[in-house]
Structure formats: C-alpha cells, structure tokens
C-alpha cells in the first residue's frame, strides 16, 4: 500500500494490507509476479497478481479499480441527455453502441417509441460499432501475441468508421450522438452517409476480414498459441454470467437481438409490418481463445449483412425525408433548432427541458434496457424519481462480468497464455472500473 492518509485528517490512518495471498503455501518453488497495472498487453490499467510454479500459473488474483471514476455517481447528477457523454466513455472501442443502449433504456422507461428512421440509423450504427469493436479486438490480440501487421490492417478500417461517426455527429471518437427520442441532429446528407456505409461494408471491411483471416487466423503460430487455451464449457459460461461472443464461442445460443429483440431486430419495427432484419448468430463449440476470434470474425460478416439490408433502397425509400426525432408527446423530446428560433412553442419546449429547475418529469419507476453489444449484454437499470435526473443508474458492464473468469481460465496455463486469454476476453478497463 503506497498511500497513507495525512495524520489527523479525521480518517482512519490504519491501513490494513490486502491479504491477497492468504492461501499461499511457500514451498520455495512458487513465486509471485505482478502483471500490470501498466503493461502494454493490458492496454489500459489492470493488475494481476500471479502465483507461479516455475512458468506455470498456479493462482491468479485480478485487482481492478485503477480507472474507477464514479460514473454511476455522476449519472445521478446529470440529466437523461447529459449522461450520454459519460456512457460513451465506458466502452471506448465502440462508443456509439453505448449511446444507443443508454437511450434505449431511457426510452423503455419513458415509453417512447422512436421513429422508423431513427431505428434504421441506430441499427446501422450499432452494427458499425460491432465491426469497430471486433476489428480492434482481433487485431490487438494478434499484436499482443507478436503479429503486428494484422493490427495495422484492422486499424486502417477503424479510421473509416471514425469518419462516419465524424460525419453524423461531428466528433470522431466519442460521438454522443443519441438523444431522448431521437438524435442530436439528422444526417447532413442521406446519400453521402449511404455511400460511406456502402464503402465500409462492401470494400473496407470484407478486405480487412480477409486480411485478418489470412494473416492471423490461419497463421500456424497464432493457432498454436490460442487453440485449447482458456477453454470454457457452455454450462460454465451460463453459471458464471458470461454473455456475448465469449458465451457463443462456448456454444451458448443466446443473442439479445434474437431473444429480446429491439430496434430493427424486432418484428414490425416500422409499425407497418416490416420484417425484422435477417441474420444468423454464429456459435462455436470449442470454447477456447481461437474459437472466440472465429466467432468475432463471423459476427463482423453478419454485421455487414445486416447493414446491407438496411442501406438498401427498399428500406431507405420508406424512411427518406421522415423525421428522426419523436414528437408523439412534445414534452419529452427537444425540438428542432429552427422551431426553437422560429416559434414560441418550440422556444418554450426547449427551455422546459434545458432549464435546471425544469427538465423531464420522469415516471417514479424502475426500468431496464439491454442491448447486445460487441462485448455481450450491455444494460442500464434506471431508477427514476420523477425529476429531470435519474435516481440511480446501474450499468450491466459486460467487461466487468466477463473478467471474473480470467482467474479461472488461467489456472494451470503458462505465463505467456495470460496475454492470449486477456486479449480474447476483450476487457475495456474504462467499462470494467467505470
């Protein structure tokens, strides 16, 4: 414990040492290694205390909290639109997926059914975020295992995705694009947006997937490092609360897009009997590190397939020119800027939501909204107290819950496998510690 509190400050200055090695049997052969918190392979700040028997891991104790910044406490002091800037900083590999999930939960609580145009664009962006996340994950895992080139090919495509986020929201890294019942603003130009998305799904992503498959997945060295490492069975995944590609790589057939459908994954999403988007859920039976990367690669292909259906003229002609914001109950959604400046009703409605002593009159209720993001089930449990700010916001962070099994997967493996397993879990420390 490097820190002590200033004596006489009124706080407990007696700091007990964390007894993390209480079962340690010192046979003279075992030794302890501190992995992290600042290590290139942890990508952010994680710390593992490894008890090693030679080079074999006998016990592993993860220590987290280095990046804890009180996001959930902040959520109690920011209103339903402002908090989107905080959630987008949780999983910063695919920020826009967090925005979409947060406002999905808020709209579930407020009972707002968003417009078909908003649903289509949100679904497209959610799938783009899935590609964004998986590209980094597969690339960075190869990087940690010594293959630098695949990482660069993957990152090149992520740059195009940043361009799309920049185009729709004005910010490339943290778009903060969604708002209650709609979006910050409508697309500047539909045709440019569609052209950018087409380029991404028809040219960039398929090429990157092909490169990654050839350079990484079919690489013998990569296979030797990942096949049979960190294996989990389907039953273990369910009882350890694992969701997302990790669970599907072990054979758990669960995807919220199919099981609790939302946005365009739900039937009749446009209110006129539209079919849900057609896609399949890739499932693998091996449950090892290699299977997780195969599932992620396959999910990227399915994401392209979903986007291709929505970007099609058949769907797009029905939503072109329709509003992106919901105006069903004018009290809930911020009006358009030209209405704010051009009409007294718009001005009143704008200030009713913006002024600190006004704002949303939320129901006194509790609601949960979850999306299937790239890491698994991301959910927000919101307790509303009738005022403009939530009473409590609980995130269900997939990184945090998936990271529990790290220690379990590592036991008995070699030290070098720690990096392979860590890469396959796709831990984002900002979401882990919040």
């Amino acid at each position: 414990m490097p820190y002590t509190l200033k004596p006489g400050s009124g706080f407990d200055t007696e700091i007990e040492r964390v007894d993390y090695l209480k079962d340690h049997v010192d046979t003279g052969d075992r030794w302890t290694l501190n992995f992290g918190p600042q290590h290139p392979a942890t990508h952010t700040t994680l710390r593992l205390v490894l008890e090693l028997d030679g080079e074999r891991i006998a016990r592993c104790t993860p220590h987290i909290g280095y990046l804890h910044s009180g996001f959930e406490k902040l959520g109690e002091h920011l209103d339903y639109n402002q908090y989107v800037t905080i959630v987008s900083r949780m999983n910063y590999l695919s920020p826009i997926a967090n925005d979409i999930c947060w406002h999905h939960a808020v709209e579930t609580l407020f009972n707002i059914d968003i417009t078909p145009r908003c649903k289509v664009i949100r679904t497209i962006m959610a799938e783009v975020a899935r590609i964004q996340d998986h590209l980094l994950n597969v690339g960075a895992a190869a990087l940690d295992l010594g293959a630098f080139t695949g990482f660069l090919y993957a990152f090149n495509v992520r740059e195009k995705i940043y361009d799309i986020c920049d185009y729709i929201a004005g910010q490339r890294y943290h778009p903060d694009w969604t708002r209650v019942g709609g979006a910050m603003k409508d697309l500047p130009d539909d045709s440019v947006f569609r052209a950018m998305i087409r380029d991404l799904i028809d040219k960039q992503t398929p090429q990157a997937i092909k490169d990654l498959e050839n350079l990484v997945l079919r690489n013998k060295i990569f296979q030797d490092r990942t096949v049979g490492i960190g294996t989990m069975t389907a039953a273990e995944c369910v009882e350890w609360s694992i969701s997302g590609p990790l669970a599907r790589a072990s054979g758990v057939k669960r995807d919220l897009r199919k099981d609790e459908p939302y946005l365009c994954y739900a039937p009749n999403w446009n209110g006129q009997g539209a079919e849900p988007v057609e896609f399949s859920v890739p499932v693998h039976s091996d449950g090892d590190v290699y299977a997780r990367f195969q599932v992620r690669i396959e999910e990227m292909k399915q994401a392209c397939h979903i986007i291709r259906q929505l970007i099609d003229d058949k769907v797009w002609n029905t939503i072109e020119g329709t509003p992106i914001d919901t105006f069903a109950d004018g009290k809930w959604v911020k009006p358009k800027k030209n209405e704010v400046y051009g009409s007294i009703e718009g001005l009143i409605q704008h200030f009713e939501l913006i002024m600190t002593n006004r704002g949303w009159k939320a129901p006194i209720a509790e609601g949960y909204g979850a999306n299937e993001t790239a890491n698994g089930e991301l959910g927000y449990f919101i307790v509303a107290d009738g005022g403009p700010r939530p009473w409590r916001v609980k995130t269900r962070p997939p990184s945090f819950i998936n990271y529990q099994v790290m220690a379990k997967q590592l036991e008995g493996h070699m030290l070098a496998d720690a990096v392979a397993v860590l890469g396959s879990l796709n831990i984002v420390a900002a979401e882990l510690d919040r």
Partner: protein, 186 residues
C-alpha cells in the same frame, strides 16, 4: 405522463406464491418488467427455487444491483434494496427479484452493520461473486458465505461506501488529504 397501473400477471409470480404460501411476497410491474419483492430471510431459498424448478428455470444471473432510497420521493419498504436480474435462457424470460434492508447504525462510515447482511448467491450462481462485491463496496451491504468478500473498485481502507445517497458527489476531501510524497521523502 399517464399513470401506469402494475399488471401482475407474470406466470412465475403465481408459481412462487403457490410454492411459498406462508411467506410475505410482494410484486410490482413496470412496462412488462416484473419484480418479485421478498423478505431478506427468504431470499436464498426462493432464488434456489427459481433456478431449480423446471417451470421457472432462471439459469442466468445477469446482474446484482444495489440501491439507496434515502429521501426517495415515493414510500419504500426499506432504505436499501438489492435487486437480482434473472434470465431464463431456455424460456427467454426475465424477472427481477428485490429485497429491502434497513440499517441499524449511522451510514456514513464503513463499520460492519449486522442489519445490512444478505445471503450470498455464489453457491447458486458463481457469477454473482464480483457483482456482490461491487454492491458491498458501493453500499456496504455484506453477503454471508461469500467466498471472497473484499472491496473491488475502491481500496480496502476507503472511509465510505460512495454510492450511498448520504455521500456527497465530490467526496469528503479524501483526495485533497492524501499525503504528498515528494522526491526527497522517498
């Protein structure tokens, strides 16, 4: 905002009511999401039933949520609540199980309060380990029979449970009062 009347027709609620006729059970619902409210002493038994009974079959514990209702505008049974978010994969169903706790000592410190204790779910779902640790860390609710109940996000000696409502947003000066170690001290 129209008034929402709870619609308590979730099939699991009826099954639990039949199985435990002599327990105090409450239920509520909001927009299709049903919550079963149980007494803290019955929690473990009912949760085991919810997982093992083939009609319920809630095999996936999605999350454990801590809550502080200090000065909440609506009347609640207790000050603290712990909510379990349960999923059934075979039946594609979700239910929330909630229990309320009342503290017996002032809540601004980290002293052990025997009234703020619940049975751990780790023997039913091992995945509850870290989520329960987070509830303990943030709200000071301890879990009996937990395999490794340490704080998880804050360090062990942190003098408060920060998500309690009586803890201020900007803290109580912990950051300002760290001793600064200069180069010459080392």
């Amino acid at each position: 905002m129209t008034k929402h009347a709870p619609n308590i027709d979730h099939p699991t609620l009826k099954i639990v009511k039949e199985q435990f006729p002599d327990r105090t059970l409450r239920a509520t619902e909001y927009r299709g999401q049903s919550t079963l409210i149980v007494e803290p002493k019955d929690l473990h038994e009912i949760m085991r039933f919810l997982r093992d009974d083939p009609r319920c079959n809630y095999d996936f514990l999605s999350d454990v949520i801590g809550l502080d209702y200090l000065n909440y505008p609506s009347q609640t049974i207790g000050r603290f609540a712990v909510i379990y978010n349960l999923c059934s994969y075979p039946r594609t169903d979700r239910i929330f199980v909630k229990t309320f706790l009342n503290p017996s000592i002032p809540t601004d410190g980290i002293e052990k309060d025997s009234a703020l204790e619940l049975d751990s779910m780790c023997d039913i779902w091992p995945g509850a380990e870290w989520t329960e640790r987070e509830v303990y860390d943030m709200f000071g609710i301890r879990f009996r029979n937990h395999p490794d109940l340490r704080r998880i996000l804050m360090w062990e000696a942190y003098p408060a449970h920060p998500l309690r409502k009586d803890y201020p947003l900007r803290g109580r000066g912990e950051r300002e009062n760290f001793r600064v170690i200069s180069r010459t001290d080392g």
